[in-house]
């Protein structure tokens, strides 16, 4: 006989698998958001487990702002090929035509057009009734209150004061025409859970998470990697090679690197345990004002 209760990682894994299966069984056109980061990688792994030996019964959607790290795109394509999932990549065509970028248009306008609006376009175009995301409740205060099955009205907006009560594992998956659901299977995981699970399961990650010498510039205390020639350098500014890595992956001009020597998983986890800043700090999007994430979510951001 094996042990008669599950460890916390086994319990979290089973909970997430149950949620993913509930989505597949309850919705007509589900889609899974795939952002290529560590949380997405865990989500992908869980989805493969949930439906094995079947293939993942829904497509993966990547909202491509065209400003992602080049390596992320290569990694994304290699995963799609290796695991044979259906990959949809969407870029806001108007944003692309108007060359909307984080340098000329500012992070908030850029994020709105290339991420939030692009996401809405893709969800509308696919007529998806459920979008699975890798958000966790420990990331940010307004996320801590969001349901696992989080209802969106026909405009993809979240109404935090009118959330459906969510009891036990009995999820209300019913929708009226035009409405949709955002589903967060790893709501109850912490950043440390994600890392220890990656370690325990041997999940592949983009190498950007691991330290190596990379060309960076220092922008008011934030280290930005010069990933391609579109990055405008200020007069006299040159990229320096520094030993850095990333705690989160996103658009390279908006994602700060940290100086680190952690080149393998155990070192990263140890470094993270010793560190004294939270992971979203490297993202420029949250720091605009108090309550900014909550506002973005009401507008349809993930």
């Amino acid at each position: 006989m094996q042990s008669q209760s599950l460890t916390h990682l086994q319990a979290l894994e089973a909970e997430s698998i149950e949620i993913l299966r509930e989505v597949a069984a309850s919705f007509e056109r589900p889609v899974m958001m795939y952002s290529i980061g560590k949380d997405s990688s865990v989500l992908l792994h869980l989805a493969r487990k949930a439906f094995y030996p079947s293939k993942i019964p829904f497509p993966l959607l990547h909202v491509n702002t065209t400003w992602k790290f080049r390596e992320m795109i290569a990694f994304r394509d290699s995963m799609a090929e290796k695991y044979g999932f259906d990959l949809i990549s969407h870029t806001n065509p108007e944003g692309l035509a108007n060359n909307i970028n984080p340098f000329d248009h500012g992070s908030s306008r850029y994020t709105d057009i290339m991420k939030t609006q692009a996401l809405r376009q893709a969800l509308n175009a696919g007529r998806y009734d459920a979008a699975i995301g890798g958000a966790r409740r420990d990331e940010e205060k307004s996320r801590a209150k969001e349901r696992i099955f989080s209802h969106r009205n026909a405009n993809h907006a979240w109404d935090p004061k009118n959330q459906r009560p969510e009891l036990w594992k009995v999820f209300n998956t019913r929708l009226n025409p035009g409405e949709s659901m955002r589903v967060f299977p790893i709501s109850n995981w912490t950043e440390l859970d994600v890392w220890t699970y990656i370690y325990d399961q041997g999940i592949e990650l983009p190498s950007l998470y691991f330290a190596k010498p990379r060309p960076v510039v220092d922008r008011s205390g934030t280290l930005i990697m010069v990933d391609d020639e579109r990055m405008p350098l200020e007069p006299g500014e040159t990229a320096r090679m520094e030993m850095v890595r990333f705690r989160t992956l996103g658009c390279y001009p908006l994602t700060g690197a940290i100086r680190s020597d952690a080149a393998d998983l155990p070192s990263i986890i140890m470094e993270m345990q010793a560190s004294r800043t939270s992971e979203r700090e490297g993202r420029l999007i949250d720091s605009d004002s108090v309550g900014s994430m909550e506002k973005k979510k009401q507008e349809g951001y993930f």
Partner: protein, 628 residues
């Protein structure tokens, strides 16, 4: 500050193993508004070193202009997430928080104290193993303390820690603590908690949080965190009867057919015999499939895919068990319901019920009594209002598999969903199945509806008119009846005049009475149609839910919802019975269109525009459309 809760080990492999092997404790905090719940959780996060530098900086920024403790920090800001809450200084929804120590990972549900958010507390409690019930030492046991404790027992939280907070503000007085604990124990005795530990605490100052405080030398029990780290809450779910609700049928190709789900309780091994609840058919487990390889056995909590040794009819919602310890299987049961919607629950109304992976139509057939959540007093009721708890009988369209909630929360807890808005209206816990429902089977007569219909030379059906008073429903129904009767058809009109004065004379005009009124009329209409008649029902029937109910009661009979759409001004100008005048004068209450709403049909089968056509024309339109 006391010792931090854990220190990273330098031996990485060992440390990672320790992280992986930790157990998980889910608990919730509840208490009344100013008992300091958020402060307590903030303190737990702070002490477990989970407050990071950037969060601390932002916390200090936000603590400006607020009441703070010695550290100059308002800990509650860490957990009060939504802007509205920050503005009002209260917690309005469930927030989940995470921290861990060397021994355990903790998931904390921070739930609101206000009465109007009772539903959120029930939500937080539904996934918790343990509850911290906070009491302000200065105030003692309050009404809200009692309400929260009752909801905990209703949801089946077995372990309670009574946290007597702000003990510093009563000068660490042992007598105050003892008095509060004695009062609470007396109250909680009938609630059936398995363990109840009382701890004197100051969340703001840290007394008895991580270690025993020198300020309470008279207290010999454990400090809060060590207690949470060690308490055994395992129900040993694996030792209970095996339950496997089938969530998803896994069919990648013709050679593989598996049933995916999570073992709700018990354990299953390859070679074990299982029984399918709906068909009572047996099968043997051939494989337990996971991506990491096949398992020999799966215990409670594991998400797996079962392959059986034979072709059996199983779909989502079926429950697998072992022969000899099967779940109940019935279409009627008693349950306790917590209502979570502004719109009250009424007996007779149809809802969607979801338990496990089964979703089915259900009706509250009997409202036995309402329990006052503050006094535990039981009173008679005709409806269940928001945040109320009632004991009811529920009937489902088809039998479902379930257990009593006491024996298995995962197969005995359900939600009720609105059929139109799809909102979650309430949650319930099943007490027991009512066996008599199983024995109630309909006698199959040799003389059936078809025979009777053939004798009358018509196809029996129900034509349901809806519309405001004075819209022309009865006039149209009368003309149609005359014309069809002239053709040799057999009809009957049910309207307010012939039903309200007889069958339904015991009913008033409250919302509950209107629901019951429509239910009875719909049942009578169905019986008459079953007898072979064409039934014309002419009732205002202002609510979508009741019209939908009427359609459901009609079953496989043809049911045509005819909306006589005449604007209120026109109806009021006609005022054939002078009712509008009296309603406007306040002599009639709850009059549809005046002080009670009319919910226009969203998808009527036919719309008759009462202001644009004469009654005879409307009757012709209906006659042409019906093609009887």
């Amino acid at each position: 500050m006391a010792q931090p809760m854990h220190t990273p080990d330098t031996d990485i492999g060992l440390w990672l193993q320790q992280q992986t092997d930790k157990s998980l404790l889910r608990f919730l905090t509840c208490g009344s508004v100013d008992d300091g719940k958020s402060t307590l959780i903030g303190r737990l996060l702070y002490d477990s070193q989970l407050i990071l530098d950037d969060q601390l900086a932002s916390l200090k920024k936000e603590s400006h202009n607020r009441t703070t403790g010695d550290e100059g920090i308002d800990f509650s800001l860490l957990v009060d997430g939504l802007t509205a809450e920050r503005e009002q200084g209260i917690t309005i929804d469930v927030a989940y928080r995470f921290f861990s120590t060397d021994k355990r990972k903790f998931i904390v549900a921070d739930t609101p104290g206000h009465e109007q958010y009772t539903r959120n507390m029930a939500t937080g409690a539904s996934n918790a193993d343990l509850a911290l019930v906070l009491i302000d030492a200065r105030k003692g046991v309050l009404t809200q303390t009692r309400r929260h404790s009752f909801i905990l027992s209703l949801i089946g939280v077995k372990h309670v820690v009574l946290v007597v907070n702000k003990i510093d503000l009563v000068d660490y007085d042992e007598a105050v603590f003892d008095r509060i604990v004695a009062e609470y124990r007396a109250f909680a005795a009938p609630l059936g908690f398995k363990t109840l530990e009382a701890i004197p605490v100051s969340a703001l100052r840290g007394d008895n949080m991580l270690a025993q405080s020198p300020n309470t030398p008279w207290y010999g029990g454990p400090a809060l965190v060590p207690y949470l780290e060690t308490i055994d809450v395992s129900e040993d779910r694996s030792a209970q009867p095996f339950r496997f609700p089938v969530q998803w049928v896994n069919r990648p190709n013709l050679d593989f057919r598996g049933f995916s789900g999570t073992v709700a309780s018990g354990a299953i091994a390859v070679g074990d015999e299982v029984l399918i609840a709906s068909s009572r058919k047996p099968a043997v487990v051939k494989r337990i499939v996971t991506m990491d390889g096949d398992l020999d056995q799966a215990i409670a909590g594991r998400a797996v895919t079962l392959v059986l040794d034979r072709e059996v009819d199983i779909s989502r919602g079926d429950v697998l068990s072992r022969p000899g310890e099967t779940p109940e299987y019935s279409n009627q049961f008693q349950a306790r319901v917590i209502w979570m919607s502004e719109e009250p629950a009424y007996p007779g109304r149809s809802y969607l019920l979801k338990v496990g992976a089964q979703t089915i139509s259900a009706t509250i057939t009997d409202l036995k009594f309402r329990t006052n959540v503050n006094t535990l007093e039981q009173t008679a009721a005709t409806k269940i209002d928001l945040n109320e708890v009632a004991t009811v009988t529920l009937a489902t369209d088809k039998p479902i598999a379930f257990d009593s909630y006491k024996t298995n929360a995962l197969t005995g807890g359900f939600i009720l969903v609105d059929r139109l808005s799809n909102a979650t209206l309430g949650a319930g816990t099943i007490d027991f199945g009512l066996r008599r429902a199983q024995n109630l089977t309909y006698q199959a007569f040799d003389v059936n509806r078809d025979v009777r219909a053939t004798m009358k030379g018509q196809s029996p059906q129900i034509i349901w008119f809806t519309g405001l008073s004075g819209s022309g429903k009865s006039s149209v129904a009368n003309l149609l009846e005359r014309r069809l009767t002239a053709e040799g058809k057999h009809l009957y009109i049910l309207d307010g005049d012939n039903v309200r004065h007889g069958l339904n004379k015991d009913l008033g005009f409250t919302e509950a009475a209107r629901v019951e009124n429509i239910r009875r009329v719909a049942e009578v209409a169905r019986l008459m149609a079953d007898a072979g008649l064409i039934v014309l029902v002419s009732f205002i029937s202002p609510f979508r839910n009741e019209r939908r109910l009427a359609r459901e009661i009609a079953g496989d009979l043809r049911f045509s919802e005819v909306y006589v759409d005449t604007p209120l001004e026109v109806c009021e100008a006609r005022d054939p019975k002078g009712l509008y005048k009296r309603a406007r004068a306040g002599e009639i209450k709850n009059f549809t269109g005046i002080d009670s709403p009319f919910e226009a049909p969203e998808h009527p089968d036919l719309v008759l525009h009462g202001a644009q056509f004469e009654v005879a024309q409307l009757a012709d339109q209906l006659y042409d459309w019906l093609k009887i």
